[in-house]
């Protein structure tokens, strides 16, 4: 995976030097382990800090909204799908983007790594092929990447960019034998009381910092419903019903748009699995409307179209 760093730097330099793009958006290596910082480069000389590894879990599409310049940007499967969604929703124009595609083996779940080393402080992580070495003050352990993928990456069916102007590597074989909705099916089997308990516990730690909302490229409304005062749809304290309302509506706003990039879960400071909301919608849109978000910038999203013979069984 690290091999991509060099290619990214080289590509960014070339694109900037040839003035094919005004800016290039990628990642730089973070100041703490397992954390990379999105970076905007506007000059070839500054492109050397660009970086890529299996901790680039933040969705770069966040940085496209409202831009008017010509942008070079790195995209793996899910990020490229969000770019397609942005194009569909008129948040960016296709010809503003020069998409540098990366076939993605998946991002490593930083929480799983912390758990694996029993909460000992991690000082450095070195990635080598299919493994990575975790180093701390008095330990060094090697793990297999495949076993530590973020849960969304483990079941990813679109590892290759769906949209690109240039690819930095050979496409990976897509995973076809995965069940992306195993966890959702488990919840569906519960009775309503169990479901209520499950979701109340799930969000009980929420501090309403809105990191999930803000890390989501789909959340670009000028005024979010939580900030509306007339009427006020949801209270602002950490009251459990208000918190549930927030998570419910946030998820619903992503209906038919979510690419399951996992950024919301990755950024949550309290480790909440809010994808248990959005994935249900993904599952339903797939089952009812044969739709997966962001696969084609030319196709209208599921809530913007209909079929006369749509699912009608729930209506009296």
């Amino acid at each position: 995976m690290l091999k991509y760093t060099e290619k990214i730097v080289e590509t960014a330099k070339r694109l900037l030097a040839e003035e094919k793009v005004d800016v290039f958006i990628g990642y730089q290596k973070g100041t703490v382990p397992m954390m990379n910082e999105p970076l905007l480069v506007n000059h070839p000389d500054k492109a050397d800090t660009l970086y890529w590894d299996n901790f680039c879990g933040l969705n770069l599409c966040n940085y496209l909204t409202k831009r008017t310049d010509k942008i070079g940007i790195i995209a793996n499967g899910c990020n490229s799908r969000n770019m397609a969604t942005h194009i569909i929703e008129n948040q960016i124009k296709r010809d503003q983007l020069y998409i540098v595609g990366i076939p993605c083996e998946g991002m490593i779940d930083h929480r799983a790594v912390v758990r694996a080393v029993k909460n000992r402080e991690i000082l450095n992580i070195v990635q080598e092929g299919s493994t990575f070495v975790v180093k701390g003050k008095d330990f060094e352990e090697t793990f297999e990447k495949q076993k530590f993928l973020q849960s969304n990456c483990a079941v990813c069916r679109h590892r290759n960019p769906v949209l690109y102007d240039e690819m930095l590597g050979d496409p990976l074989e897509e995973q076809t034998d995965v069940n992306p909705y195993g966890d959702i099916e488990k919840i569906e089997e519960m009775d309503s009381e169990k479901k209520q308990g499950f979701f109340q516990r799930l969000i009980s730690r929420c501090i309403r910092c809105y990191a999930c909302r803000n890390s989501c490229p789909l959340c670009y409304c000028p005024t979010c419903f939580v900030d509306e005062s007339e009427p006020q749809w949801v209270g602002k304290s950490i009251d459990p019903t208000d918190t549930l309302t927030f998570h419910f509506l946030r998820a619903y706003h992503c209906a038919g748009r979510c690419t399951d990039c996992g950024a919301c879960e990755r950024v949550c400071p309290m480790g909440i699995s809010m994808r248990q909301f959005t994935k249900k919608l993904n599952k339903d849109t797939e089952e009812l409307f044969s739709w997966e978000a962001g696969l084609d910038p030319e196709k209208r999203p599921p809530l913007d179209v209909y079929r006369p013979d749509d699912y009608n069984d729930f209506i009296k």
């Binding site: 973070g30 100041t31 703490v32 954390m35 990379n36 910082e37 999105p38 970076l39 905007l40 933040l58 966040n62 940085y63 929480r111 912390v114 758990r115 909460n119 402080e121 000082l123 003050k137 730690r205 501090i207 309403r208 910092c209 809105y210 990191a211 909302r213 803000n214 890390s215 900030d227 209270g235 602002k236 304290s237 950490i238 009251d239 990755r266 950024v267 400071p269 309290m270 480790g271």
Partner: protein
């Protein structure tokens, strides 16, 4: 002042008996991390920890707190008139709190308890608390308390300081409140060898903090020059404008006030707020002095590292706990920003 040594088992036993005179709070393992919780029922504290995810400011300054309550029932004589909500200000003890988080209380006290106005809830909660700190034997790589006027065994603001000496704790009373707390615990008085071991521990721990975060030049910078510095857009680029940094920060104190009505019963509640949110400074007219992301990011750093420095002449509004460094989803590192500001010419 008393210096007592007791085994960790004795300490655990003592905590059981201390539940009577105090509302006890301590770090409890809560899934993947630790949270300060009331030690009631069968909740057991875990002192083998780095630091809690949320800072213990939640005990003194809860994320959401009822301020007033009122009736909206017109048949009540006092309809529409606000009444103070009842609070439990009985003595509480926060055990195992890290010195950086205690330092943070000293920092925010200047805001909540100032010569002109005293915030009643913060002040009362704070005064009801005994702070039983636990020195850090192994500070994290992202900690920088020694750079901002604290240290892994910093005593200021603490009532008792605990040294983890392996099988034993050495407890040092630092105030009268702390003396009273320690009186309730059995233990032997510490001999010179123990005190020497504690001192060595402190020194070796301080040496482990290698981060250099100079703040010495901040005071002398001209506010509007720093405000107009060219680096803010770059610093802010990656920022998502979420509230992680401000909510996890032990020294962030901003809040919002909201009225909530349920039937004929109303409450005025205050909730933590964050300068990262556009609504924080949005005028009724629609004008927003900090409409852009970089302005809000600048506000956060300028407040902590310049405005506070100028206003209180007592250092920066940061205790070096490193939470924002560790948990910022996009790795905006206050240590780096501080360097930029301190070195700005």
């Amino acid at each position: 002042m008393t210096e007592k040594i007791f085994t960790k088992e004795e300490w655990s036993g003592a905590l059981e008996t201390l539940k009577e005179p105090y509302r006890l709070f301590g770090p409890v393992k809560d899934g993947d991390f630790h949270t300060f919780m009331p030690l009631d029922g069968d909740k057991k504290p875990d002192f083998d920890y780095e630091n809690s995810r949320l800072s213990p400011k939640t005990i003194i300054y809860p994320e959401s707190e009822r301020m007033f309550e009122y009736s909206l029932d017109e048949t009540d004589d006092d309809a529409h008139i606000l009444k103070e909500s009842p609070k439990d200000y009985s003595p509480c003890a926060i055990v195992g709190i890290r010195p950086c988080d205690v330092h943070a209380f000293q920092i925010v006290k200047r805001n909540f308890d100032n010569p002109e106005y005293q915030d009643p809830w913060w002040t009362e909660h704070f005064e009801s608390a005994i702070l039983v700190g636990l020195g850090c034997n192994n500070p994290c790589a992202s900690c920088f308390c020694t750079q901002v006027g604290g240290g892994p065994f910093h005593e200021t603001g603490l009532d008792v300081l605990l040294f983890d000496l392996g099988d034993n704790f050495l407890a040092k009373a630092l105030t009268e409140k702390g003396e009273a707390f320690l009186e309730k615990i059995q233990g032997e008085s510490a001999d010179d060898a123990v005190l020497k071991a504690a001192e060595d521990l402190k020194q070796s721990s301080e040496k482990k903090i290698t981060a250099k975060v100079p703040t010495d030049q901040l005071k002398d910078k001209v506010t509007i020059e720093l405000f107009d510095a060219p680096f803010w857009e770059e610093v802010a680029f990656a920022c998502l404008n979420c509230g992680t940094c401000t909510y996890l920060c032990p020294t962030c104190w901003c809040f919002d006030i909201q009225d909530e009505v349920s039937g004929k019963q109303g409450d005025r509640i205050r909730n933590w707020d964050s300068c990262m949110f556009p609504l924080f400074s949005l005028h009724g007219s629609g004008h927003n002095p900090r409409a852009e992301k970089f302005q809000r990011v600048r506000q956060r750093f300028m407040h902590k590292l310049k405005y506070y420095v100028d206003k209180y002449e007592n250092g920066v509004q940061c205790s070096g706990c490193g939470r924002c460094v560790r948990y910022c989803p996009v790795n905006i590192d206050i240590r780096e920003v501080c360097k930029l500001m301190n070195d700005f010419a």
